[in-house]
Symmetry: none
Subunit: 419 residues, 2 copies
């Protein structure tokens, strides 16, 4: 028999709509993958009496309560006190956590105020979920026939703790093993992907196949349920293979971390180095590529030529060309890629120039971007029409450039089969 | 006396985390602006029994229930039936709505199936909230001393209906206006800020003062309630002034969009240009600064000198200095800032060099970062200890650099009073 769960999100910011409740979404997805049914989600503010009422209701209708928020050091962080009281557990100072918080502040050179120690007051006998992504630890306990898990609210802490701490803890309450495989796709829209795979997505029950849209990428998740994870994994294999065959070269990885980590690994394994010349993206390509630990093995650096004279002076782009065709043109993208490859002494150079918007530029519409990839054999250029929204356009340009590098290195056609 | 509200989001997709609950966020924001307090938000799937239980709970703790979802034509759209039954109202065919749906399909050239008419079955005596953005009308009624509003789930229908239909309907129940002011702070931790303002935060009731943490920044929100927004705004003024005086120069803006937009505006208004030399941040400073529309007025561009030879070749950093002190040193940060200022012909140059981690580098610990700002008058350098987490370290370096530019241009001390 599987557990039923309620997600209880605590925070006035959520309640007032200042921030979106992405934690609840992430938790619901992960519990689902464990075979735990979520029947209710509740959001309540930082108010002791209303939290207490919400906890009582959750106890009456769920076996597992997962809370987010209210674990920090300030007076309105009252989740632990309220939950512990509701289950009749005293709070006690947890010495290893005191040490962790102390050394966190020492490392950062900041001053630890006394209220930071409140974060080390934990319910007696609980399992401490260590927080490597912030100061407030998470907490799990079993009491009165219920299971309680408390997580910090900031998504950059909540999400890794969910994967690294909560899922291993909850495994013992799950009587089935679920294995999910992620097929990552770039260069094919979600609806086009769904159209191609429609019958399979709708008809399959074990494994299930579910599509998810990301910004300019998408993801297909194949999930199988069996008695052991080995069995479940084996059930996913033929489905993953069949979908990869059906979708072709728009699949850039199965169970990969990200597009940038796949491209990094591809270049690293071939001993190739990379440099970037960015205009409208302003550094976003470099920022994203260097988010992969160890990026310096591949990434030499780059030039952000936001103003035209830097394109000429630092990258050697022909000034007359800019005058004739404008900075947003295929030719300038190409010369930027070649120029940065030369200036940085890299095997591969990339160039990005476009109109991020919201205003048009050079009488060219927002969303028009040219990307180029230069290597010893020549240059590949693509023209992109990315629509509106400054951040969306810039992200689309970076994703497409990463994909163009991948295609160039693998010897695939410049354009995906379907876009 | 103001109403209290509960938002009840109905839909299995929300419950399983397949989609984000942006409707609840939009509704909470709009109700807040009307002075209606939202105390709870609940999410429940398309299950009649669980919807019924959620409605009973909402009736027991709120005056106004706003639902989203479950108004469509399919068998699992059961919101109207369940709510009407719970309040003892029969459903009746609403002829004008039948006509609207019929003509909607005629205009689009689609075929209206019989189940589309289910959408015209509405609770007796209700106010129909016409839907110009889809087929399912919204519904509002008063019964048993409660107010109920039902909205369709798709955000592209829910959000315009909220503004165009629901706010005018709810105006009569609101006797107060709320105005919020945001005081933005950088260079002072949330707990240190709260420590300084503790008495005021806890004791004030109108206006209220609430602290919020962001990554390496924080925010104080001052919210006043009055009969008119003019009055409410006037009530916030002395409190905002007093807090700004108390906190001093760590306040970088009141009601400002972001740190980068404040720094952009500061430089733009003084006709100053900026260029960046980035190492461990890999382009994140440039990406963030150029996220402000119109950034090209100020930002000339930059160099990402991820490898040491580019620091020497593109920025003119002394190779012997790197050999002696390592690339992660105050002196190299300084020469990077001066070099990029020269190379890009900018008024202000910034340099960022550090260890993003997770591994140490040059036997220096992850989290150690040097930032420098050079202008015609000289250079300011800061040493940062940002702890662990690659993205966190990089974000901390960018935020501190933006702040250092702000301090330099305003003639403030390099280090905030407290960190």
């Amino acid at each position: 028999m599987s557990l039923t769960a309620e997600i209880l999100s605590i925070g006035t910011e959520l309640l007032l709509g200042d921030i979106t409740n992405t934690d609840a979404q992430a938790i619901a997805q992960e519990l689902g993958a464990l075979g735990i049914n979520v029947y209710f989600q509740t959001v309540v503010g930082d108010n002791p009496e209303r939290i207490r009422r919400a906890v009582e209701i959750a106890k009456s209708r769920a076996d597992l309560i997962v809370t987010t928020g209210g674990l920090g050091p300030t007076y309105d962080d009252i989740t632990k006190q309220t939950l512990a009281e509701s289950f009749g557990l005293p709070l006690e100072m947890h010495e290893p956590t005191v040490e962790r918080i102390r050394s966190y502040f020492e490392r950062r050179g900041g001053t630890m105020t006394e209220n930071n120690l409140l974060q080390a007051m934990l319910p007696r006998g609980c399992t401490v979920l260590e927080n490597d992504w912030g100061t407030a630890p998470g907490v799990a306990f079993e009491a009165n026939g219920k299971v309680v898990v408390m997580l910090p609210g900031p998504p950059r802490e909540c999400e890794p703790m969910l994967r690294e701490r909560v899922l291993p803890y909850l495994k013992k309450f799950s009587d089935a093993a679920l294995v999910s495989r992620n097929i990552r796709v770039v260069g094919l829209g979600e609806s086009a992907m769904e159209y191609r795979l429609h019958d399979r997505i709708v008809s399959m029950t074990n494994p299930t196949v579910a599509p998810y849209a990301k910004t300019f990428e998408c993801l297909l998740r194949v999930t199988a349920r069996a008695e052991t994870s080995e069995e479940a994994r084996a059930m996913t294999e033929p489905v993953v293979e069949e979908i990869c065959r059906e979708l072709g070269d728009v699949v850039y990885g199965v169970d990969a971390d990200s597009l940038e980590s796949v491209v990094f690994e591809l270049l690293r394994s071939r001993g190739l180095t990379l440099a970037a010349a960015e205009s409208c993206t302003g550094g976003m390509f470099g920022e994203r590529f260097t988010s992969v630990p160890g990026a310096s093995e591949v990434y030499r650096g780059g030039v952000c030529s936001y103003s035209n004279d830097l394109k000429v002076n630092l990258l050697g782009v022909d000034a007359g060309l800019i005058e004739r065709l404008g900075a947003v043109s295929a030719e300038v993208a190409q010369q930027m890629a070649e120029g940065v490859r030369r200036a940085c002494g890299a095997d591969i150079g990339i160039g990005i120039t476009g109109v991020a918007g919201p205003a048009e530029s050079e009488r060219k519409p927002a969303g028009l971007v040219y990307i180029a990839v230069a290597d010893a054999a020549g240059v590949a250029v693509r023209e992109l029409h990315l629509g509106r929204g400054r951040e969306r356009v810039r992200t689309g340009a970076v994703v497409s450039t990463l994909d163009l590098v991948r295609r160039r290195v693998l010897g695939l056609p410049v354009n995906p089969q379907d876009d």
